[in-house]
């Protein structure tokens, strides 16, 4: 019962626009930075090496290489300071925590792209065909509109 209350208290602050981020993904994290009165957005791009916590306490740790030096930042993903998270690539990993990347140097740092199962392929195809259909419908509508005008 206590946990239900805690969950409901934090419900309003959860950010529902955050995409599914999994360990091994390469992500762009858009961070709001306040400088005096101004506010700007900085992008931190790197590999998610850790995903921790649940609900409003959920954080991801992103690792990137800056000037040959590994930099890790941990973001509470529901923080209002996170303007958005974009997943660039899915990496193929077999661990939930990628601490081994810290010891990797050079090309070995890179993760293989995730190979998806059949279900994912079917889904992709369906999505593409749906998009194509939508596009066609739109074009048709546009053509009709221009036709009626002409």
């Amino acid at each position: 019962m206590s946990d239900d209350i805690l969950r409901s208290v934090t419900q309003g602050q959860l950010n529902s626009t955050i995409p599914m981020v999994s360990v091994g993904d390469t992500v762009d994290v858009h961070v709001k930075i306040v400088e005096g009165a101004k506010e700007r957005i900085q992008v931190f791009t790197g590999v998610v090496i850790k995903r921790q916590g649940s609900g409003i306490n959920e954080t991801i740790t992103v690792r990137r290489i800056v000037a040959n030096e590994g930099v890790e930042r941990t973001f509470p993903i529901h923080s209002p300071r996170i303007a958005g998270i974009k997943v660039q690539r899915h990496g193929h990993v077999r661990r939930s925590k990628l601490y081994y990347l810290r010891e990797r140097v050079g090309k070995k740092r890179r993760l293989r792209d995730r190979r998806r199962g059949l279900g994912w392929l079917v889904q992709q195809e369906e999505q593409q065909s749906q998009e194509a259909a939508e596009r066609e419908a739109k074009e048709k509508a546009a053509a009709e509109a221009s036709g009626s005008e002409g």
């Binding site: 206590s2 208290v9 409003i56 509470p76």
Partner: protein, 224 residues
């Protein structure tokens, strides 16, 4: 009118404020409480307000307590606690106290019973440093050291009263002062305060308006 209420600790979580700072928050389910007795100097020798919290099955209560609650026009209640607010005459017997009374309150004191730690040594209980790991120390690494000598305590050779030693730790009444109130939830009777409060989840807490504030918090209150 100084406010007071009883509640149970629900647990801790975090909330983000307008600046995006993460604020550690303890959620307390507080009230509704009822004034079960108003003590006055004339009748009791001192003035205080006794408030009651949480319904209880009559068979789990005792007849004297049931009668005491009935006198105030209440159903049997589980907890009865007294507060000395300094404005006792503004309370009426049977009056309902809810978290809504805390809508204007900025800082509160929270009283609870800390988690019991059992029998503990001096290092944990009183933050002694213990002894060295080596340099001839044998089997005495966590011991308190000397507690008295022949000439201590005016030459009696007995330890002074109040020498800190190993013993039972925790399960004490603890007051945390001047915690900022983060928010209230009228529908669910929730009170959110910043930072930790004593005791385990579901533990009974007494919450009252902060008795005194330190300088910075007083200034914050004035500014708001």
């Amino acid at each position: 009118m100084a406010q007071a209420i009883l509640g149970r600790k629900i647990g801790m979580t975090r909330l983000f404020d307008e600046q995006g700072h993460s604020v550690p928050v303890t959620v307390v389910q507080a009230g509704p409480c009822f004034v079960s007795q108003v003590k006055t100097v004339e009748s009791d020798g001192y003035s205080a307000v006794q408030i009651a919290y949480e319904d209880i099955k009559p068979r789990r209560s005792t007849l004297p307590l049931i009668a005491h609650d009935a006198k105030a026009g209440l159903v049997p209640m589980r907890f009865h606690r007294e507060f000395r607010t300094g404005s006792e005459d503004q309370f009426e017997v049977g009056q309902e106290l809810t978290v809504q009374n805390f809508a204007e309150v900025k800082f509160v004191d929270v009283v609870g019973t800390s988690k019991g730690k059992g029998m503990q040594g001096v290092m944990k209980r009183h933050h002694f440093s213990g002894m060295e790991a080596s340099h001839g120390v044998e089997r005495k690494h966590r011991s308190p050291g000397s507690i008295c000598s022949r000439s201590s305590n005016r030459g009696t050779g007995k330890p002074k009263k109040g020498i800190r030693m190993a013993g039972h730790m925790g399960a004490d009444r603890v007051t945390v002062r001047s915690l900022p109130v983060i928010g209230i939830d009228k529908e669910r009777n929730l009170l959110m305060v910043k930072g930790p409060v004593p005791g385990s989840k579901q533990g009974l807490l007494m919450i009252r308006e902060a008795v005194r504030l330190n300088k910075s918090k007083a200034e914050m209150l004035k500014a708001s």
